[in-house]
């Protein structure tokens, strides 16, 4: 039985006349790990800062366990924040940093000592309590910041891109460690990131944000496998967009023309009409690369191949000039499996692995188009 811990309703926030969060509503369940995911400027950090109380919404209410806390100052909210650059107090030892919140609560000395040591043990820093923050590595500082925030046993922990300053390997370790902490403590985590991989691997639920609006709210699997719109599909993971056109509609199936192939696909949840253009979405790992003499699929040629260790990623140019990405696992029976550039192949997929989206009037640009637009501006 899940129960709502925090709810935002009709939240709006503007900075200098620019809308950053636009009438957004969201409920966060007790004990869940929820991630706010989006590109920079999507409003995710502002949203988090309104939960913490550092920003007040222009409109709407913030409710925590049924109590309206919209106007409550940060020091009176039973939530704690882990900041992007840790914000450790540079003049205090690790111990005093972690003890700060408990001292503010005027706890007895013995209790403070015990709880700080417990928190430091939890992040494996019990031997570092007398060090100053600048004597620690980035990863250690990160763990102190987490210990400092959880020592107060908040109802909810807000994490603002806490891993973005760490190198790749350390980030992976900390992801696992954070997940473990969240399980052990049973505290609700609200995690802000622009890294979709991080969001997918850690969250119970993901909120995909763009321009202050929720694009999709769902489990990592839902967001990845059944993106709600073109933006989510492009932002989360890599996706191939095949242009399709509806040729026939039945009860539960529709026929779609893709590159001259007639495929019978499951009927999507949105309304379709005959001749309607559609996006047929396929993740690189869902594509099958076939021999050029195969009868199935669309013809193309290999233009790029990247060895990724566990997979072989290739870019295939189709006959109409569009490029698609395919990611294939190595086959144990064929260790020499590889492509040469320019090799002709055919591309296909198993029916049912695709995902259909309606065309949108204001579709976001692809990365390449965005770069080109940037260049034109400068």
């Amino acid at each position: 039985m899940t129960k709502t811990l925090l709810s935002l309703s009709g939240i709006s926030k503007q900075f200098d006349g620019k809308t950053v969060v636009d009438e957004l509503s969201l409920t966060i369940d007790d004990g869940e790990f929820i991630t706010l995911l989006g590109p920079s400027g999507c409003g995710k950090t502002t949203l988090l800062r309104m939960m913490a109380g550092f920003e007040l919404p222009d409109q709407g209410t913030v409710t925590l366990s049924g109590v309206d806390i919209t106007q409550t100052p940060p020091e009176e909210r039973p939530l704690n924040t882990v900041f992007q650059n840790y914000a450790l107090f540079p003049h205090m030892s690790v111990f005093d940093n972690v003890a700060y919140g408990l001292k503010m609560e005027k706890r007895p000395k013995a209790e403070i000592r015990e709880r700080v040591e417990e928190a430091l043990a939890m992040v494996q820093l019990e031997d570092f309590s007398r060090r100053k923050p600048h004597q620690l590595s980035g990863g250690q500082q990160q763990r102190v910041a987490i210990a400092r925030a959880v020592v107060k046993r908040p109802k909810m922990l807000l994490l603002d891109e806490p891993l973005s300053a760490l190198d790749y390997k350390l980030r992976r370790t900390m992801q696992v460690e954070l997940k473990r902490l969240q399980r052990e403590l049973g505290i609700t985590f609200v995690f802000v990131t622009h890294d979709q991989e991080e969001a997918l691997s850690m969250s119970d639920r993901i909120v995909v944000l763009k321009d202050g609006l929720i694009q999709q709210l769902g489990t990592p699997r839902e967001v990845y496998e059944r993106p709600a719109n073109v933006f989510t599909a492009r932002f989360v993971g890599q996706t191939n967009f095949f242009p399709g056109r509806v040729t026939g509609i039945e009860d539960k199936r529709i026929s779609v023309d893709v590159f001259g192939l007639n495929r019978v696909l499951g009927k999507p949840s949105f309304r379709v009409t005959t001749n309607q253009p559609l996006h047929v979405l396929l993740r690189p790992e869902d594509l099958r690369v076939l021999a050029p003499d195969d009868t199935e699929g669309v013809a193309g040629k290999i233009v790029e191949r990247n060895y990724k260790g566990s997979t072989l990623d290739s870019v295939i140019e189709l006959e109409d000039g569009s490029q698609v990405m395919a990611s294939e696992f190595f086959d144990e029976d064929d260790p020499a499996f590889d492509y040469s550039i320019g090799e002709p192949v055919r591309v296909s997929w198993v029916d049912g692995w695709e995902w259909l989206l309606a065309e949108e009037s204001d579709e976001p640009l692809t990365d390449e188009e965005e770069l080109a637009a940037d260049d034109a501006e400068h």
């Binding site: 550092f54 020091e75 704690n80 925030a149």
Partner: protein, 255 residues
């Protein structure tokens, strides 16, 4: 040609230090004239400390520098915080005006302060000196503290608030400790500026409160007495101690 840079460097340091060394050496000179060596002696130190007017001027100067530095640090720190923290109309103008006071010729400040004090009917003495010294120390303190605040992580106050500290507690436990080195540096700067100011002090001091630089100046006017060398040496030692102290504070704050 390897000797050239070394000789050059030696020459620069010689020019810097010869006057100071001569002063220190001659303060221990037994001879009455400053031109011949008459053997080692502490008689000028003795006569310096027997000179009551001189000792009084020394205490006056120390007290003035102490109070002026403290008052300007208090006012200056609050001014810097306000300029750093709040966004308001005319902030840039106020910032620029600090530099105007700093860069304007001292004589201008001296005349205008004297005019102001006369207009107000303020008796020239300790109070007028204190007000004048606080005025010219203030911009230095504000700029020193603002430089430190510019590198201050804005997330620190937020982190303190997030952990349950009120605005006042945050200022006491986080903000002030973090900017402490700048407060110390500002104080020291104010102390030094006040200690050796002549121009402004000449205008705004009265007979009731004589300070050291003016005393020395009037002494030197009637001929260079060897006592001045002794006094100079004492001041030099004092500055060295202050320098070491500030160095110690800075290195401690870095740990």
């Amino acid at each position: 040609m390897r000797w050239l840079p070394r000789t050059y460097l030696a020459l620069v340091y010689l020019l810097l230090y010869v006057p100071i060394i001569v002063l220190v050496v001659f303060s221990f000179n037994d001879s009455r004239t400053g031109y011949s060596w008459g053997g080692l002696s502490l008689r000028w130190y003795e006569s310096l400390f027997n000179n009551h007017a001189m000792v009084q001027a020394m205490w006056n100067s120390l007290w003035l520098a102490l109070t002026a530095a403290t008052v300007s640090t208090l006012i200056g720190a609050l001014t810097a915080l306000a300029l750093h923290r709040y966004r308001f109309r005319g902030k840039k103008v106020l910032n620029g005006m600090l530099f105007v006071v700093m860069m304007s010729p001292e004589i201008v400040l001296a005349i205008s302060l004297l005019g102001l004090f006369l207009l107000l009917g303020l008796k020239l003495g300790y109070v007028s000196l204190l007000l004048a010294h606080v005025t010219f120390c203030l911009p230095f303190v504000v700029i020193t503290v603002m430089a430190r605040l510019a590198g201050f992580d804005e997330r620190l106050p937020e982190a303190a608030r997030d952990l349950g500290a009120s605005d006042f507690t945050m200022t006491r436990t986080v903000l002030i400790p973090v900017i402490m080195p700048a407060l110390m540096a500002g104080w020291m700067l104010g102390f030094t500026l006040s200690m050796d100011d002549v121009v402004v002090s000449t205008f705004v001091s009265g007979p009731s409160y004589e300070i050291l630089p003016l005393r020395i100046y009037s002494m030197v006017r009637v001929g260079l007495k060897p006592e001045v060398n002794a006094l100079g040496t004492l001041l030099l030692v004092f500055s060295l101690v202050m320098l070491m102290f500030s160095h110690w504070i800075l290195s401690r704050s870095k740990q």
